[in-house]
């Protein structure tokens, strides 16, 4: 702390501080007050500079933290993208198989072992677990860590809306498959493997069973009207967010 801001305190007044009472008659307050104010100003400026430096350093650290968080999000999103794309392809394949099986049964064609894979596809249970831990971690630190408001909004929309809808759709699917399809499959099929294979006890009975045809149509509808659109929208939103994060990281 230097005293360079005290030009107005002349040297011949220096000793006055030591004996104010003795020189009370000749005491000139104005330079003392100026000196006093200057001294305080120096300390205040010093404290403010120190705090500003601290804030600047904190800002630098937060910027570094932001990059780490965005990197983590980017990695998690890439994994989610792969998982969801794989499941989406499975759903599209399932729809083709259900259509083919339906056509086969409508045409009253005979049973063959290869049909087991088609029966099994009706009994598909596609549950994927997206990774929300980077987002939860971000929320616990404060979403404000992401400085770009538009990017922040995109992140919350994906994790708080799109992923929730995905989970909701999966819950509906789980309820349907386990609640109403499973009992039917357990009583009419053997060698059951979810989405892979199911061998009918009596092919002829199933081929003519309206309940099974309705069940297939229902499963197909859930996949076409709920699952595929939600997966497609989620994948599109992930890709968009990935581009935004990439852009932010390259700034």
């Amino acid at each position: 702390m230097t005293d360079v801001t005290v030009p107005s305190a002349p040297d011949d007044h220096d000793n006055d501080l030591a004996s104010p009472a003795g020189n009370s008659l000749s005491w000139d307050w104005r330079p003392k007050i100026r000196w006093f104010a200057a001294e305080i100003l120096v300390v205040v400026v010093g404290v403010l500079v120190a705090l500003a430096l601290n804030a600047w350093w904190q800002g630098k650290q937060e910027a570094a933290q932001e990059r780490i968080v965005l990197d983590e999000l980017q990695t998690a999103l890439q994994n989610d993208l792969v998982i969801l794309s794989t499941q989406l392809a499975t759903f599209r394949e399932t729809v083709k198989k259900i259509d083919a099986l339906s056509e086969h049964l409508e045409a009253a064609r005979p049973y063959s072992d290869s049909l087991d894979a088609y029966f099994g596809s009706v009994y598909v249970l596609g549950i994927v677990a997206v990774n929300t831990s980077p987002y939860e971690s971000l929320k616990s630190r404060g979403l404000g860590l992401i400085s770009n408001a538009a990017l922040r909004s995109d992140v919350t929309r994906l994790y708080d809306l799109r992923y929730r809808i995905l989970v909701e759709i999966q819950e509906t699917q789980r309820s349907a498959v386990l609640g109403i399809m499973r009992p039917y499959f357990l009583t009419h099929f053997e060698d059951l493997v979810f989405g892979v294979t199911a061998t009918p006890f009596s092919y002829d009975q199933i081929a003519g069973d309206r309940y099974f045809h309705n069940l297939m149509a229902y499963r197909r509808q859930i996949i076409v009207s709920s699952e595929i659109p939600v997966y497609e929208q989620t994948i599109a939103q992930i890709s968009k967010l990935q581009s935004s994060i990439e852009k932010e990281l390259s700034r």
Binding site: T2, W35, E168, Y218, Q221
Partner: protein
Amino acid sequence: MTDSNAPVPSQPSSKHKRPWTILGRLSKAVREQNWFAVVLELTIVVFGVVIGFQVTAWGQTRADRAEEQDLLQGLRIEFTEVAADLEKQVEKHQRVEQAVAETIDIIANARQDGAPKTSVADTTLAWALIPTTTQFSQGVLDGMLATGRLQLIRDRVLRTALSEWEGVMADVTEDEVTAREMVVFQLEPLLWRLMDARSMREYELLLGTLSPSKLAAKSEITVDTELIGALSSRLYWQRHVIREFTGPQAEAVRILDLLDQSLE
């Protein structure tokens, strides 16, 4: 500045020389037992630090206010969307209610007439079976609750309303889940036994994008007392869900009003 009247012997020319640092002057004053100067130097440091902190606190308060306004803006956008989505969701539930009521009427009339079967429009049946649920994007509010930044909101009434919002919505969403279970576990299996429901499975029926002839298509359904009962339960519950929505709708409007009052 704190030189004594008597010059220091070892530094004859120091009468007009003062140490440059506060610490130097303070130690000099202590050595010379010039307590007035000691107190004065300490006072200057204490005052300086206090003022420095006051300035920082003032800056922090301004930053908090700015952040509060930022959060309020974010909440304003979120709750505007929520209010609009709630309205859309109620409309959707009302359309489902209308479809269920229409289906019940058709089947009940057929039963009165003693007909074993009747026909219901595929679009009506498709809508009657929609198990819709409500989801919102509330990242700003969730983030505030998770990080404790809700405390930045000065309006206590608004703060309370925001912290209770999740519970307000839970009343509706839980009822929607029950409605979904009624459809998936009761109505669907029952219909699969009573009719060929394949033609009403067209997704485009709900979107209204099919050709007029397909949109007008009907499916034959067996007149069944259990089905009327299941549909009546669904109708009762559907109406209950719609009534339950009035709570969140009113609360969303109230929160928007409070947000407007808090926004500068």
